[in-house]
């Protein structure tokens, strides 16, 4: 609880300043990442991307933001006006709130005060992040529902189902981190990783599950079913315009950065330097850790963009199947293994028993996968019988019709 102690004696003005900084960092990162994403995706598609507004098109996203703000703010007649207005606010605020518990740096001197760049350090910090993310879904669901229109409703429903399904996998993947670090506080988890290895390596399956489910959680490609342009126009934000739409946009990108920051904190050693580069943490009075933190966050952001540039959108049923039938069972089993290993290593402290158990688990997994593969092969080798020549149903020929009377009386066109 070193960080918590450092935070405890912060005067109010520093806390306020930090809140402003966290907000500013989120907004600036959003603007920059919109630009970055468009540039990177463009390069992946052999294009250049925005390069006109400002040097290298750097203020393109800012210009887009101004344009959005100046557009006409439309509320559809069929919309539930109060909820319609509240929904984007819920989305945006919850996205920012998640950032409050992210430790951005190690101990630094901030205006003469020894502190850490972390707004608050609560003992259940990670649960708090999960909670804000869940509340954020309300924004999307309510937006879809209150628009009073079909596509947004479908988008909102998809989104709620999606986020609920993937949040389970996400929460389960974090359980093993809690088991290993013995804490739910973000800063303690970072500290715990410093004492052992990064949990991204130790708990690799958890890391993979978290990485997959964080993409599902943020409604990003290839899991962007909630705003699938090809199917649902814009999904939940179809009816939104102007600043309200901008808020959803902001929320999406802040969410991406928040889950990336969480992944960094829980699996990649947080603000600490890469192994072997620990000496850099003393440079710039500890502020160098901020650079390490952002390097890791931007790496995750790049992966988000990379996924978008590479994979096509999943079909809805496959997406759900993957979440419920693969991610959740796998993470449950993994928790079982991790918990057992943890108990063995903390109680008996005998290496052979630990390794023996791990070996047995690996053997069982290998056995199951082999059996699965062979059953798949057997199923594929079944020969379907070829039936006899059929007697097809044929429609009557148009030549039998002498006149076609198109009646404009009655019918449902009224």
């Amino acid at each position: 609880m070193k960080n918590a102690q450092l935070l405890l004696d912060d005067p109010g003005w520093i806390i306020t300043l930090k809140a402003v900084i966290v907000f500013a960092v989120c907004v600036v990162l959003t603007i920059m990442s919109v630009w970055g994403e468009r540039r990177i995706v463009a390069r992946m598609q052999m294009r250049v991307g925005p390069n006109r507004v400002g040097k290298f098109g750097l203020i393109q996203a800012l210009a887009d933001g101004v344009k959005l703000a100046l557009k006409e703010d439309l509320i559809p007649a069929a919309a539930d006006k109060v909820v319609f207005v509240i929904a984007p606010i819920i989305s945006a605020t919850t996205a920012f709130m998640a950032f409050a518990v992210m430790p951005l740096t190690g101990p630094v001197t901030f205006f003469g005060e020894k502190t850490v760049m972390q707004l608050t350090d609560i003992p259940v910090g990670v649960l708090y992040v999960l909670a804000t993310a869940s509340v954020g879904v309300y924004g999307i669901v309510l937006a879809g529902w209150s628009s009073g229109s079909t596509y947004p409703l479908l988008g909102g429903l998809r989104s709620s189902a999606q986020v609920i399904s993937y949040e389970i996998a996400m929460g389960l993947s974090l359980v093993s981190v809690f088991i290993y670090s013995g804490s739910m506080s973000t800063s303690s988890i970072v500290q715990a990783q410093q004492e052992t290895w990064w949990y991204g390596l130790v708990l690799f399956p958890s890391f993979v599950i978290y990485a997959i489910s964080m993409v599902g959680e943020t409604n990003r490609a290839p899991f962007d079913l909630a705003e699938a342009e090809g199917e649902l126009v814009g999904g939940f934000h179809t009816e939104y315009s102007s600043l309200k739409f901008a808020l959803f946009f902001l929320a999406e990108y802040v969410n991406i950065i928040a889950v990336s920051a969480l992944a960094t904190t829980l699996f990649l050693g947080g603000y600490h330097a890469f192994p072997g580069l620990g000496f850099t943490e003393q440079w710039l009075g500890g502020w160098f850790t901020l650079i390490w933190f952002f390097i890791k966050v931007l790496f995750f952001f790049f992966v988000f963009v990379w996924l978008r540039g590479t994979l096509p959108r999943l079909r809805y049923d496959q997406f759900m199947q993957f979440g419920w039938k693969v991610l959740i069972p796998v993470s449950l089993l993994w928790i079982l293994v991790v918990a057992t290993l943890r108990v063995i290593s903390t109680t008996s402290q005998s290496r052979p028993v630990t390794f023996g158990f791990a070996g047995v688990v690996v053997l069982i997994v290998l056995g199951i996968s082999t059996a699965f593969e062979s059953s798949k092969k057997k199923r594929d080798s079944v020969v379907h019988p070829v039936a006899a020549e059929p007697n097809f149903a044929v429609p009557s020929l148009p030549s039998e019709i002498t006149t076609i009377n198109v009646s404009n009386q009655g019918g449902d066109r009224g």
Binding site: M46, V48, T310, H384, A388, N391, A393, P398, N405, Q409
Partner: protein, 208 residues
């Protein structure tokens, strides 16, 4: 009324001896999902593409040449002595599927000789709001008076500006050309002009 409607609607032919399971099918080998490794290769493709040369042309600053026979803005050509090739026959206007060309012919007179022969195009307009750049007018032109250039930047702010007059469409006066009206080359007929026997203007053609 209802009876009449019913008798005239198409009734599907229903046969009772059709069973959906009796339809023959053969198992086709679906490609199915690629192996995990093959799917990872897709990530390599997008990654390596980032470092490839982009296809984008920075258009207003950089202009790539069009295809050689690109259908661009039209041009009314001249004979080598400067007389117009257009004879005001209106075949281009007749050929135009979009009705974008308007031509008014007029008679050449000895003191107003615009083209070799009897007639010339007095009014010649192409409406670029209508033109579809199909090139049928070029095919129709009997004297090769009308051809197309490679110029494609034809946007403008008003409708009126996009109706190109004869002045806008006429090709420039090149070396050895005299601005019409002026008499035909001495000793040459319109057939000589057509056959390309006139190579340049004769000093006597110049109107003093």
């Amino acid at each position: 009324m209802a009876d009449q409607n019913e008798s005239n609607t198409v009734q599907p032919h229903i046969s009772n001896d059709v069973d959906i399971t009796s339809v023959a099918y053969e198992k086709v080998d679906q490609p199915g999902a690629k192996s995990f490794w093959a799917q990872l290769q897709g990530f390599w493709v997008t990654f390596i593409t980032m470092f490839k040369k982009v296809n984008t042309v920075q258009y207003p600053e950089v202009k790539e040449p069009t295809a050689e026979r690109f259908h661009g803005r039209h041009q009314l050509n001249r004979h080598p002595d400067g007389l117009e090739k257009c004879i005001g026959c209106e075949l281009c206007a007749w050929a135009c599927p979009a009705d974008a060309i308007y031509v008014e012919g007029a008679d050449n007179t000895p003191d107003n000789q615009m083209s070799p022969g009897e007639r010339y195009g007095k009014v010649y307009q192409i409406n670029y709001l209508r033109c579809v750049f199909c090139g049928l007018c070029i095919e129709a032109c009997p004297t090769r008076a009308l051809t197309m250039t490679n110029e494609y930047e034809l946007a403008d702010s008003t409708r009126a500006k996009l109706i190109f007059e004869k002045d806008d469409l006429l090709g420039p006066l090149r070396a050895g050309m005299l601005p019409p009206p002026h008499p035909m080359y001495p000793g040459m007929t319109d057939t000589n002009y057509y056959n390309g026997d006139v190579k340049e203007a004769h000093p006597s053609q110049e109107i003093k």
